[in-house]
């Protein structure tokens, strides 16, 4: 008996991989699998996995049951009441699956070779600027699905205000920023905030308000990776700054 933790186990993606490996390593004829022996080896492998506290996926258990079933069936005499036309080898389904699995493994290798060759050659489309618009993506249905999920998962901001944004002062804009941050559980992307304003004036006021809030340490702007989105989050003085209406008004007198 080997001590449990010295056992080296190969990992298999699924039960078919494990079975194929058992068969191939022992140079067994796939059309005449010694089912009792292979079943035992298969179960031994699962036991070793258990000893190593490895999770055994349901797929492996299902295959174990299948093997045991086949083994039992092979021990039984053929059913005399079965239609005479099909004296089927109980192993044949499994053999077909294994052969098919092996075919696809070969096909995958072939694809890999093709991909390596393809990656080594370059095409330089549109070298002379017979161009389409920049910044757009070629989209698939999958992108649509993902985009919808993204929209649903995003913290909901209060709907854009109906009062004309041109009217907002820097102080009022700061209050609006506060509302946005307060309404969301976590950080808010800067882009999401900016998108709410369409006029040049409103955008400028929004930026001034953000700069004021950052200066007052009410909010913090962070970027977690180069070129990543800029996130706004509450900073240490968030509640203090907004608790004092006079502070916001003081800002406004500055900008008069």
């Amino acid at each position: 008996m080997e001590p449990p933790y010295s056992v080296q186990l190969e990992t298999y993606e699924g039960p078919l991989d494990l079975l194929l490996d058992l068969i191939r390593k022992q140079e067994i004829n796939i059309l005449d699998i010694p089912i009792a022996r292979v079943t035992q080896q298969y179960l031994d492998y699962l036991h070793k996995m258990e000893e190593l506290d490895m999770d055994i996926a349901a797929d492996f258990i299902l295959m174990a049951a299948t093997l045991i079933y086949i083994k039992a069936k092979m021990l039984l005499p053929p059913d005399p009441n079965a239609p005479a036309a099909e004296p089927l080898d109980p192993r044949s389904d499994l053999v077909q699956r294994l052969l098919e699995h092996e075919r696809f493994k070969k096909a995958a290798e072939m694809l890999q070779q093709k991909q390596i060759l393809e990656a080594a050659s370059w095409s330089r489309p549109n070298p002379e600027g017979f161009e389409h618009e920049e910044g757009e993506l070629v989209v698939t249905l999958w992108d649509v699905v993902k985009a919808f999920q993204a929209a649903l998962n995003r913290p909901q901001l209060p709907p854009p205000l109906d009062i004309p944004k041109e009217e907002l002062t820097v102080g009022q804009m700061m209050a609006e920023m506060q509302e946005i941050l307060r309404a969301s559980a976590g950080p808010v992307e800067l882009e999401r905030v900016i998108e709410r304003y369409s006029t040049r004036r409103a955008l400028i006021v929004a930026f001034l308000a953000l700069l004021e809030l950052i200066r007052l340490e009410a909010i913090l702007a962070v970027q977690q990776e180069p070129f990543g989105p800029i996130l706004l989050r509450k900073h240490k003085l968030f509640d203090v700054v907004f608790a004092r209406a006079d502070k916001l008004e003081a800002v406004d007198t500055q900008y008069q």
């Binding site: 349901a58 389409h132 757009e136 698939t140 985009a147 999920q149 929209a151 649903l152 995003r154 909901q156």
Partner: protein, 207 residues
């Protein structure tokens, strides 16, 4: 290096380079090859590319070598390029708005903005321009806002027979969960298509 191989390599390099390739750059890249040999090979390339059956020529420009289509072909080339229907391209906000309309249709602008949290007016216009969405009457509520739904073009572009072929959110979530490493126990796809088709999809504006 054999002359033909050198010419082939030079042609490939000039093709992939975005800027004119200089003799200095090439001399640095081809260690064992003298500048005279490089120059001779480049000249042969230039001359060969002038043949009457060639449409892409190599020219010396700004101290380097570069590929060009010939001026006399530009009209024909431009006409061809313009005729092609380019693949569908959308900005991220446009894509997201389209997704909201696809799943929530028929839907009004305020409802879209509520979900997306941003102004969507200009994006709606883009989608209308690209004929991916169409208007679908007005919602009988205060302000009677315009309703939007996806168009036939949308179905064509995404290869859908009808809206019921859109993956459901349940199906999406199964895939999304899987990406988080949570091996969903979809025993042979058990979780898939629990709700056959979204009952609400396009029910009132039969496509």
């Amino acid at each position: 290096m054999e002359r033909n191989k050198l010419k082939a390599l030079l042609e490939a390099i000039i093709y992939v380079s975005e800027e004119p390739v200089t003799l200095d750059q090439l001399a640095a890249a081809f260690d064992g090859v003298g500048r005279e040999d490089l120059r001779a090979a480049l000249n042969e390339l230039v001359v060969a590319s002038q043949a009457s059956d060639r449409g892409v020529e190599i020219r010396q420009v700004a101290g380097g070598y570069r590929m060009y289509t010939r001026a006399e072909h530009h009209d024909a080339v431009r006409r061809f390029v313009r005729k092609q229907k380019p693949p569908l391209r959308l900005t991220l906000p446009a894509l997201e708005t389209l997704a909201v309309i696809a799943y929530k249709q028929p839907v009004t602008l305020p409802e879209i903005q509520q979900i997306r949290g941003v102004n969507a007016v200009s994006v709606i216009k883009t989608l209308l321009d690209k004929a991916l969405i169409v208007t679908a009457g007005r919602k009988p509520c205060v302000g009677r806002p315009i309703l939007y739904r996806t168009s036939r073009e949308f179905l064509l572009r995404f290869g859908l027979k009808d809206l019921s072929e859109l993956p459901t959110l349940e199906e999406f979530e199964e895939l999304a969960r899987a990406s988080l490493g949570e091996t969903a126990e979809a025993s042979s796809g058990g979780g898939i298509a629990s709700q056959p088709a979204r009952a609400d999809a396009g029910s009132d504006n039969g496509n």
